[in-house]
């Protein structure tokens, strides 16, 4: 186990523990940046998809994982971002303006929803946001002149400062665009978490009463969190639209919202790593399953069979497994494995047993 001898405040403030940890992440970043050279176009596309999901996951993680407000309606904000981006580009706005604006407008839409929604707590907030997700479908159909209704919309290649970027024509450039956006969002997220605002979100999640007593304006903190969360979701939605090329009212349905929520639970609530790990599961599960199906078919010398609902079923099983055996998600499990390896052979049997929590002050509402 590496123990850092701390001699300055910056050692606590900077996001990495020591040079070793920083170099690990830099190596990872360089390897991912170089992906177009060592991956074929199919896997590069899949990796792009994972990064977009990770970004959407970070949006929801900020709200659910760090502020403790459950949202089952984030697909609505993905859709909002996606359509805003497409409509602005069609109206002639350059991508460099349309894309940031898509996020910011989604954030503003989020605030207008958040002000009534955040008066609700727990399961009622979940129901409210679920309704939002269902409503968005109809709103897209009704706003046909703008959104193309059921027929949907098509977003082709865009031009960024003279460079043509498209999912199919230039997969490498599109990948770098997504990677750049994801890295920016991640860095902003990390910065927020080490600043007072991020800490106030966590305070609201763990104890609203004492957050208030510490001078945190609880409803304001929740609203800001909702706004930021929707902004990031809007960007992720815009990229999702560009990734799929064509989209209509059913692209961002309720199932996407639920999948997004399950994704961050599987990854590990309350950590940025969790958003990425969950995205890897969601992104690669379909491919993994189809590859496995081929193996199984070869093994039993039968033809390839299509099993309807296999993907959803396996995903559900994974989720149940996590909730029963590892509520902290993949990142929580990884932390335990790491600690176990670092301390070996000095680990106790019950080291990670959850302790009983003490009596809490009754809620004021």
């Amino acid at each position: 186990m590496r123990v850092v001898f701390k001699t300055g405040y910056m050692q606590d403030i900077r996001p990495w523990k020591d040079g070793y940890q920083l170099s690990l992440y830099l190596v990872l970043l360089v390897a991912v940046c170089a992906a177009p050279w060592w991956m074929d176009d199919f896997y590069l596309g899949e990796l792009t998809n994972v990064l977009i999901w990770a970004m959407a996951g970070m949006g929801l993680m900020l709200l659910t994982g760090h502020t403790g407000q459950v949202s089952l309606g984030h697909a609505a904000f993905l859709a909002f971002g996606c359509y805003t981006n497409a409509v602005l580009i069609e109206a002639g706005a350059p991508f460099a303006i349309a894309f940031p604006a898509a996020g910011i407008l989604t954030g503003i839409a989020g605030v207008s929803v958040a002000i009534p929604a955040l008066r609700l707590h727990g399961v009622y907030l979940a129901i409210f946001t679920l309704a939002l997700s269902v409503l968005m479908d109809d709103i897209i159909v009704l706003a046909e002149p703008l959104t193309g209704g059921v027929g949907g919309k098509y977003l082709g290649d865009v031009s960024i400062f003279g460079l043509t970027v498209g999912r199919w024509t230039t997969p490498d450039r599109f990948f770098w665009l997504v990677l750049g956006a994801t890295v920016m969002v991640t860095l902003g997220y990390i910065n927020l978490l080490r600043a007072p605002l991020g800490r106030s979100f966590i305070a609201v999640r763990d104890s609203e009463v004492s957050a208030q007593a510490m001078g945190v304006d609880v409803s304001r903190a929740k609203t800001v969190s909702f706004a930021l969360s929707c902004t990031v979701a809007g960007w992720a939605g815009a990229l999702m639209g560009m990734y799929s090329g064509a989209f209509n009212n059913e692209t961002f349905n309720v199932l996407i919202s639920i999948q997004l929520l399950l994704m961050i639970v599987i990854g590990g609530l309350g950590s940025i790593h969790g958003a990425f790990l969950g995205a890897i599961v969601v992104g690669f599960l379909p491919q993994f399953l189809s590859i496995m199906k081929e193996y199984v078919a070869v093994m039993f010398k039968g033809g390839a069979v299509a099993i309807p609902g296999l993907e959803t079923g396996v995903f559900g099983m994974i989720l149940i497994g996590f909730i029963l055996f590892e509520p902290m998600g993949m990142y929580g499990r990884w932390l335990k494995i790491r600690t176990w390896l670092e301390l070996r052979p000095f680990c106790r049997k019950d080291m990670f047993k959850r302790r009983k929590s003490y009596l809490k002050t009754e809620r004021l509402r």
Binding site: Y9, M10, D12, I13, G188, N191, L192, R194, A195, P196, L197, G198, R199, S200, I202, A203, R205, D206, S207, V209, S210, A211, Q212, A213, M214, G215, V216, D217, V218, R220, V224, L228, G270, R354, R355, S357, Y358, L359, K360, T361, L364
Partner: protein, 254 residues
Amino acid sequence: MSLLEFSNVTLKFGGLTAVNDLSFEIEEGEVFAIVGPNGAGKSTVFNLISRFYNPLSGSIRYDGHDLLKVKPSGVAAHGVARTFQNIELFEHSTVLQNLLVGRHRHRKTGLLQEALFTRAACRQEIKCRQEVEEIMDFLDLQAYRDKMISGLPYGVRKVVEVARALAISPRLLMLDEPASGLSVEETTDMRWWIEDIRRQMGITVLMVEHDMGLVSNVSDRVLAMADGARLALGTPSEVQAHPAVVAAYLGRAS
């Protein structure tokens, strides 16, 4: 002028009168204790000052301001810090992070500065940490600095709560049963800390406590309450000898 003035405050929950026409004043720099049997309304007084409840009538003035016009989240900005009877810490954070939340009222940076972590945000963060480290040194918490709250023993949590309240840099510190559930040694530590908080930091302390040993050792004045009303107010020995207080705790000789 007194730091905190309660005048004729009444609060009812349905048919139950939690605080009944209560008046008292706390002077700057004193240690003021509230005692009374269970259900006397001691914690309700705290929650009134924290603005969790609105009184039915009466006024609460703090440092010349009408406290009833302040938002619940604005009370801390006036320099009023508190702890809770049943520890309300941020369970899934470390001791250090809990204390840093206490510095929230000193936040001067905006969203954008924090997201980009500009020099101003960084300077503010360093300043925050200097203050917090001093408090941790003062309350002997360095050993637990990077530990999660969910893994800490009860006694340490109590101290972390006091530390978090001190991180606000308050003028008035409200301690809700600081010694409940503590061992004899821990209670003695708490006693010295309360004295140091008053003497070295010049912070006025208002506390609710059942441990009469602690109350008579540290407090300058004691308010005894029963059924939401004032029974007696004076020095610890005066209050302990007061016939109404004796009757409230032991019953009347018939």
